[in-house]
Amino acid sequence: MRIRLEPRAEPSRLMRWASPVLAVTATLGVGFVLFSLLGKNPLQAFYVFFVKPVDSLYGVAELLLKASPLMLCAVGLAAAYRANVWNIGAEGQLTLGAICGGGLALALQDGGASWLLPSMILAGALGGMGWAAIPAWLKTRFNANEILVSLMLVYVAKLALSYLVHGPWRDPEGFNFPQSKMFADAALLPNLLAETRLNTGFVIALAVIAVGWLFMRRSMIGFQMRVAGLAPAAANYAGISAKRTVWLGMLISGATAGVAGVNEAAGPIGQLLPSMSPGYGFAAIIVAFVGRLHPLGVLLASLLMSLLYLGGEAAQISLSLPSAVTGLFEGTLLFFLLASDVFIDFRLRVQRRPVRPAAGGRPATAGGTG
């Protein structure tokens, strides 16, 4: 008897959405084993990790707060990945968004005008787009691999921010810490919920998710991008420009990541620091896949990933586990997701060894792709 993978005639719709659930379950299983190995009571650890962070209004607000940048980055990445445009530099585009939006806030310290915040968000979006335009241009003009270029630019962006807050933008009254001045009140996102840190950045993220859904489902350009991702040859035949697809995918994902960067600067942080994100831009890659590259899926997956961040912090405080455990869970989740995604296009077929050699060929031909 042997088990083999057999191509399905049609991709399974059920598995497409069951796969993330399977992956989460398997990751929890790994968590159970890991916590046990570390000498913690796994059930208590699960409680600390997944329940305690959100058992209060403040906790729920934190969950939504941390989900916002993930939603923004991931909804843009989802649009790009659907078009087979591999932007993995959202972390850098987020950083550029923070630099541009935050730079505007610092330049207009005294300006209490109501247009300051909208201009910052616009500046952030443009900053992210500008940063994403580099791999788009190098890809379309020079054929340079967008994965490697967008990733290299993450390091460059982070170094640029580090230079700014260590140098020209350093707060002169900041006791020599590498940080900018605090933003003026007019440059901060208004609070949504008293006694919490939740701000209007979450509303912006929700709006972008809604726009993303309309764009991918209802617009011609969104349709063309999906076709370009699913069947490049057909797209080419239908006159959909491959270069335009690359530009669109990069610019959209760059813009949303840039907005995420401003939201962090003008929201929970309120100034520029050497690092504006604990890796949201990379976690958003996982969010986009777990969310099935669908805006609504991205929304759910962002909440899950946000909980992983909160749980990691809680585990550090209450269980004295390193918060790096979050990164471990993120990677594990993506592995399991990719593994269970196999069953969207394939099914397991258990084959008994043929009794007589003459029957050997039959089962193999039965599973033709058709």
């Binding site: 993978l5 057999e6 191509p7 591999w86 993995i88 580099i134 190098l138 020079f142 054929n143 340079a144 691999n145 994965i147 490697l148 270029v149 990733l151 290299m152 630019l153 390091y155 460059v156 170094l159 640029a160 580090s162 230079y163 260590h166 140098g167 990379f282 890659i285 996982i286 896949f289 390193p322 790096a324 455990v325 979050t326 990164g327 471990l328 869970f329 993120e330 990677g331 594990t332 993506l334 592995f335 990719l338 593994a339 995604d341 196999v342 296009d345 394939f346 193999a364 599973g367 792709t369």
Partner: protein
Amino acid sequence: MEHIAALVALTLAAGTPLVFAALGELVTEKSGVLNLGVEGTMLVGAVVSFIVAASTGAPWLGTLAGMVAGAALSLVFGVLTLSLMANQVATGLALSIFGVGLSAFVGLDYVSVVIDGIKPLAISGWSDLPFFGELLFAHSPFVYLSLVLFGLVEWFLFHTRAGLVLRAVGESPASAHAIGYPVIAIRYLAVLFGGACAGLGGAYLAVAYTPLWTEGMTAGRGWIALALVVFATWKPRRVLAGAYLFGAVTLAQFQAQAIGVAVPSQLLSMLPYLATILVLTIISRDAAMIRLNAPASLGQPFHPDA
């Protein structure tokens, strides 16, 4: 003259992790598999080698452990992409994210640990020769090891039958399968080799070059190694040249600081990344040459009966 010899030595030392990682990835890609997980694999190799070296006091044992860890991690990639036919790009990204998380997690207690790393050669009578001693006989053993590895890869790929089979699998897995070669098994071996090499590159950083462990200490070298393979148009010789070019760029940043050039350190640190983008762009401009040199099935899954 002495100064030139010292510069050469420093360039070789800085380029060597890239030689290991890029040669491994080159062999993997020659078999038709694109493994984007080099960065994560290098980090895991680095942390495992450091932990073993710190707890046993034997850095060479640590190096071996780092290679095994790199191979083990790439085995996960192999199972997903080769047996389960998962998307190679997504799985490679997952491997890198996982490797960063895993290495940070297991390395936490070792961040400020000091070990007695592997020192450069000091052969009495040879290493202290004027000029030539420093130029030829006083490098880290890893530098010589990387050159041996280069020779082996070059010889294997282009002068052995097995190398020919590996390249055939990368060019046309369907034909190789039809002739009767075990495509999936060969790809597994190539992936494992690539992982072990990336682990070795990480181990060199942790137990010889620095020698210490810090979170994310590879600083993008895994990604630069991937770019190097493209830059080298899948030729080992050019990998070697490219790696030392990057070694020199990394060095320029320290040299500029040493002689007091008034450029902020962060801007100098951007140099290797900007150089990577630049060379990648220049080499990719000739799309026809890339298409001719890249293994034809690179990145595409292979299912024997599909």
